[in-house]
């Protein structure tokens, strides 16, 4: 790795802590971001010459704070940067500041920074954009690309979100235990949203949006490092890792979805799976179950199966049952029905989803799953109707292509053999 690449990685990893601390000093997001930006510029000048500081985050906080205070004192007059010698003279100060940073402060700094982005007034897409900009430090261009919108539109979206957050009262006092755990839950939900933005993409956009999944995993690991004993954060991180582990096997060359059963499991990322399994193992020990842990446990059962027929569907059925109780939703029941179809057959599964028809009448997956059950039962005409409806509701071309594959199969099966041979 070149020197500058090393510096980039160090700046990226120091960012949440540094911006979080600067925000605590200045109580203003723009000032904090600008101070961090200035500190980074100086780092790019100073680090290649003087070598990297022992604690990059402490260095950036110190320099960022000093420059911003200077700016404020001088009434924002255009001033020359201080001499480099003045900056490299920070050794002692750095040591002292690093000591102070060792306290629990920075944990709440980072949590606060993430939490600000989850403001309930902000729509989900704005929360995500804001977090990627402020916490992850992605450029507007990178975020715009991941969201498939123009740079100008994304710039506007982020500016609006920032203005909204600035108007809101940001709680700067150290949070109490109950408040901290509320913040943690909001932040976890936001990280999951970022992941899903990337994960739900398909076809030619899947590759473009993949960085969203990677960023969500980085944030989840960061959060877990701050809150080492939170089983739901372990569960969330495990869930993201186990799902992301399959990303190289999820689409064929044409960008069509490959279902779990048909995926080439040798393409699953073994290291990510190992990490995910280790985390869910750790989480279970706490015996404080939660939705992320249950979903991760389901993903873990899939990950543990070397062949599709090794999958422990009975256990998956039970876990979905637990999830139904924690988070009742027709979509969860629909997922459970897939497990039921493997354990008790398509008839039982079909009975299970019929009551959902009214609530899921516009849901692509409902008709895809229903069609598949009907097809297994040999009720091909009804299956065709369900698949047609699914295609009409498909959100992406990959989803439509997948259903069309089923329809083609029905078509082939209904043709007499003689005709096929004559082709």
């Amino acid at each position: 790795m070149t020197d500058t690449a090393w510096i980039d990685a160090a700046l990226t990893s120091a960012r949440p802590q540094a911006v979080g601390a600067l925000l605590r000093y200045f109580r203003n997001l723009d000032t904090a971001e600008e101070a961090f930006q200035n500190a980074c510029l100086r780092a790019l000048k100073s680090w290649p010459q003087n070598g990297p500081p022992r604690d990059p985050a402490a260095w950036l906080i110190m320099v960022g704070r000093n420059v911003a205070i200077d700016d404020i004192r001088r009434g924002k007059k255009q001033t020359a940067l201080p001499e480099d010698e003045a900056i490299s003279d920070l050794d002692d100060a750095e040591e002292e500041l690093a000591e102070r940073l060792d306290g629990s402060h920075y944990r709440d700094d980072i949590l606060r920074l993430l939490f600000i982005c989850c403001h309930p007034d902000l729509p989900a897409t704005q929360q995500i954009a804001l977090a990627l900009r402020i916490v992850s430090g992605l450029t507007v261009k990178q975020i715009a690309r991941a969201f498939l919108v123009s740079e100008a539109a994304m710039e506007q979206r982020i500016t609006r979100a920032k203005a909204r957050v600035a108007d809101a009262k940001v709680p700067f006092e150290t949070p109490g235990a109950a408040e901290r755990s509320e913040r943690l839950a909001s932040v976890a939900a936001m990280i999951y949203l970022i992941f899903n933005e990337g994960y739900s993409a398909s076809g030619d956009t899947a590759e473009i949006r993949k960085p969203l999944c990677e960023e969500a995993i980085r944030l989840a690991r960061l959060l877990l490092r701050l809150f080492q004993s939170e089983p739901e954060i372990m569960g969330l991180t495990a869930l993201l890792l186990l799902q992301h582990a399959r990303s190289d096997a999820r689409f064929n060359a044409d960008g069509a979805v490959i279902l779990l059963d048909d995926q080439d499991r040798s393409k699953w990322n073994k290291t990510l799976i190992a990490e995910g399994l280790a985390l869910i193992d750790k989480a279970m020990r706490h015996r404080r179950s939660g939705p992320y842990q249950v979903q991760a446990a389901i993903a873990a059962l899939h990950a543990r199966a070397e062949k599709p027929e090794d999958t422990d569907w009975t256990q998956i059925d039970l876990l979905y049952g637990a999830l139904e109780i924690m988070q009742p939703s027709p979509v969860v029941t629909l997922n459970r029905a897939v497990a039921v179809s493997k354990v008790k057959g398509p008839e039982a599964a079909l009975d299970m989803i019929e009551p959902l028809a009214a609530r899921l009448s516009n849901y692509f997956h409902f008709f895809g799953v229903r069609g598949a059950f009907l097809m297994q039962l040999g009720r091909n005409d009804e299956a065709r109707v369900a698949f047609d409806r699914a295609i009409a509701l498909a959100n992406t071309s990959a989803e439509a292509a997948h259903i069309r594959m089923h329809l083609d199969r029905l078509q082939r099966d209904s043709q007499p053999r003689g005709k096929k041979a004559g082709k």
Partner: protein, 122 residues
């Protein structure tokens, strides 16, 4: 003499590498390892999963199980090598080669007192 080379680095920084950067570092490290293998000096090599995957057992009475690594440090133990070296100078040379391939962080070089190869195959 067998030396353990314990690899410490800021986990956040390593986690911020892109997949390409990570692969590039691993490739450079492989070159160093291959040289040692040819000389018949390389023992087991391990890259550890992130410290978030770690659990610590405090050997109190009764033993206490804690989430996370043993020590909260700025740089974390991320992996290790076992290398056969004549003396400390030679071990430092190996660490320098590894360090050139993977800058940042630190290597702790510790002579090994007792070693059992075990029977686990990866």
């Amino acid at each position: 003499m067998l030396y353990a080379i314990l690899c410490y680095h800021d986990e956040d920084t390593v986690g911020s590498w892109t997949k390409e950067q990570d692969a590039a570092v691993m490739k450079k490290l492989t070159v160093v390892q291959d040289k040692l293998t040819k000389q018949g000096r390389l023992g087991p090599v391990a890259r550890l999963l992130p410290t978030t995957a770690a659990t610590t057992l405090r050997k109190d009475d009764p033993p206490l199980v804690l989430d996370g690594p043993y020590a909260e440090t700025k740089e974390q133990l991320l992996g290790f090598y076992l290398v056969d070296c004549k003396d400390l100078d030679e071990a430092l040379d190996v660490a320098r080669d590894l360090g050139a391939a993977n800058p940042g962080g630190a290597y702790e070089i510790r002579p090994v007192g007792h070693f059992t190869a075990g029977s686990v195959q990866p």
